[in-house]
Each structure stands twice: as C-alpha cells, then as structure tokens.
Symmetry: C2
Subunit: 252 residues, 2 copies
C-alpha cells in the first residue's frame, strides 16, 4: 500500500502530538551520510513489534495512541458489505464498543447495510489513523478486520441508544435511512418532533428499527508506517479449532 | 449514519482552518433561546446544496476544501472489493488521479484486491474528510462511489510510476504484496536494492506487476454534516442510456 506513504509525504501542518513508535535500527541509512533525511535518496522499512498474541490488545494500543495524539474520529471505520448478488458497498461507521468477542456497531435495520448483512452475514472493517508524533514523525496505521456479523439482542445495546445525544435520537425517529426524501419535508418532520420534545410529550424511546451488530474477528491485519519508510504489515488469523491467534509479517 | 455525528461531538482540538459550509436557516433553534448551543437540548438538519448536475464537480469542490483545511490524507479512500465466492474485503488506497471518466488507483497485480477485481470487476470507494473550519464548526463529509473497475493500459499510468518517490519504487521491487515474509529477509533484500541504487546499477524500472485501475462511477453519494446537526445526504445516479446524472436527497 504505497499509497498511504505518498500521502503522508504531502501532508501538512499536522500538529504536535505525543507518541512512541518502535523501529528496528536502520543500518542502511545510518551508515550513509549521503542518503539521510531525503525521500528522494533514502529508504528503509518500518517494523511492527508484536508483544502479545491477542490482536485485540494491539488494536486497543493503537487506537489509544491515536486518541492520545488527537487524531480526528479515532473510532471511525469503513464497513464493507456485500449483497446476495455480490454487489459490494462501503460506508463509515463508529465503533460503539469493543467487547472481548467482537466489534459493536449500530444502524437502521432498513438500511442497505442491514439488508446486505441479512443476506451475507459477514463483513470487512477498516480503521485508519494518521498523525504526527511529538518527535515530528508522521505515522499512518491501518487495521483491517474480517469476520461474521450477528445481530445483537436489544438488551445488549439498549444502553448504547439511551446514551445517544438528542439529535441522534431524533434522527432515529425521523429518518428512514437511505430512503429518498424531500429536504423541506424532513425538516418539517424534524421540527415537529423537536417541538414534542420541548413540550415534554415524548422522550424518544428506542425505535424497533434501531439495531446493533457485532463482528467477531477471524482475521486482523495491522499496517504501520512511519515517515517515508516502507510499511510493515502483520496479519493475525484465529485458529477455528483452538480459538488461538497466530500471526506473521506480510509484504506491504 | 448517526455514527459520524457522535464522533465529532467527542473530537478534540482539531485546529483552526478556513472553510465555508452552506446551511438552510435553522428556524427551530433560532426561535428558541432555551435550546441553543447544546447538543443535549438542540437539534437541526444539515443541508447540502447541489449547484451542478455533475457529481465529479461536487467531489472536486469537497476534496479541495478538505485540502484547504489541512485535512490529513485528503486523497485517501477505502476500497471495498469482493471475491467470486462473495467474500468482501476493504483497505485504504490513495486516489492517484481523477479523470473525467473515473478514479485512478494503483496496486500490485498479485494483491488480493487485484485478484478480487479480476473475478468481480466492480468496487465501492469511500472517502471521509473531517475538520474544523475557521468559524469553529466541525465538518464531516463522506463520498461513496460505486461502479465498474477496469485495468488501465501501461502507457496511461507509466507517468504515475515514474513520479513515485524512491522508497515507493523500492517497495514495488522488493514486496510481493500480501505475501508472508520474514522481516529480516525483507530488510536484507531492501538494503541490497538500495545499495544497487546507490551504486548506480539500477534505476528501478516499472515492474510488470505494477498495475493501475480506473473506477467509472455509476453512483455517487455525498454525506455532509456540520457540528451536532443531523446529516444530509445527496445521491447521484448515472442514466445508463443518456449518461446524464440525476440526484435526490436521502435520509441519513
């Protein structure tokens, strides 16, 4: 994925954040005074260190670091689903919760992604974090996750709905996600519901179409890159019999 | 997609950028002194204004604005593909060029995405930009694009390879993308190639497995949100007979 690399090289004024990254010694560059500090004439490899066999721990570590570095929307991921006819689609969602057994997301049951998941109950998630650390290094990290997706029981996500801010609850009530609308009609509908809230006539209970899913990871791949170095990748796969995770490096 | 919304609410210190966003008047809020400036008690709708029938123009406008606001990696998108068995996957790439007829991306022909595209030659792309504008508003915008994908002729992307920085060219030569590797072996391979470059023994010509694809958009969906307002969506579809685009708003 050379692609991330070039982008980082052209990114500007990313701020000043605190962050640690582990890299093996860059013998090739350090032995040369000619090819230092220039992407035109220098090159080396990033190295991802895996301290633990459980990729969820590495995921938490990377996401926390992204949060610490004030990365915008560190819980956002792209979700890819497919219809029974094999038509693929993708959109961004927010990770609502990370349980020991999987990644929790919420949506409208009438959406295309819910339709896809009812037909093909598996999906791919892709997180991306990019930031500059406190030593001035540009960092880009991606985590790709794949596995089966199952609808959760209402009692397991009721608290997620309950903690939604008001506009999100109103949206759940007025929007039939993905349906064609006239903006002015939707606005009028919004204002009516808003007025009902103001008048104390509704507390916007969780609608039946409000649904949560959990993706249980079977594979997780970590992509890490620092400055203009070539990226490293580490792929984790879950053993279907033992449930144990094993991992290896992949060429970028 | 309530999801983006919540994330924005919790994002921190996003900087201070210049930006313009168009919104219809918020009568509901402006008529109330009680429910102003608080996500706990206020709500309204974002409005996306479409000035032109060609969604590529709106895409360029949104991407340019993201660039102007120093958004990190504004050319990055998530690409979702599917295998002939219907297994979906997703990863981030960089938009290399936007032609009048489509979106250009590059990769390694031996990668999983290339394998997918050889089996199912269509894909979904998803761009996400999030930033704070110069009036302090948090903006989140997403563009989803779907359509057939075709491999390009070498002469149509040779210049893209030629303009790659050195580490990207080295990566193309040493990495069999997605293949299991021993990091130390890859590092040794890297250093050998780097030494050949230093010694003037190779100028790293474009490898045969370096390939570019173009996605021709048939549908494009724009998702826009400002602060804690409910998002607006506009969906464009291309008429297969006339090639003309038509559009309408969608519920978020």
């Amino acid at each position: 994925m050379t692609v991330l690399f070039s982008s980082i090289l052209t990114s500007r004024s990313l701020g000043n954040f605190s962050f640690n990254v582990i890299n093996k010694a860059c013998a090739c560059l350090k032995s040369s005074t000619v090819f230092r500090d220039s992407m035109e004439t220098a090159s080396d490899l990033t190295y991802i260190e895996v301290k633990d066999d459980n990729p969820l721990d590495l995921f938490r570590e990377w996401q926390q670091e992204a949060k610490n570095c004030a990365t915008i929307m560190p819980a956002t991921f792209c979700l890819a689903t497919v219809s029974k006819e094999g038509k693929v689609s993708a959109r961004n969602l927010i990770l609502r919760r990370l349980d020991e057994d999987g990644f929790v997301m919420m949506t409208d049951r009438r959406s295309r992604k819910s339709q896809n998941l009812s037909e093909v109950p598996s999906a791919a998630m892709c997180f991306l974090w990019a930031y500059k650390n406190d030593t001035g290094e540009h960092v880009a990290r991606q985590v790709r996750i794949e596995g089966p997706v199952a609808e959760m029981k209402k009692e397991d996500y009721q608290e997620l709905y309950d903690s939604e801010p008001l506009p999100c609850k109103i949206r759940s009530h007025i929007c039939h996600q993905g349906k064609k609308v006239e903006w002015d009609e939707l606005k009028a509908s919004h204002d009516r519901v808003m007025q009902s809230v103001v008048d104390g006539k509704t507390d916007l209970p969780m609608p039946d179409h409000f649904v949560a899913y959990k993706l249980e990871p079977l594979t997780m791949e970590f992509y890490g890159q620092r400055d203009h170095l070539i990226a490293d990748r580490v792929s984790f796969a879950k053993d279907s019999k033992t449930g144990a995770w094993n991992h290896h490096h992949l060429a970028a």
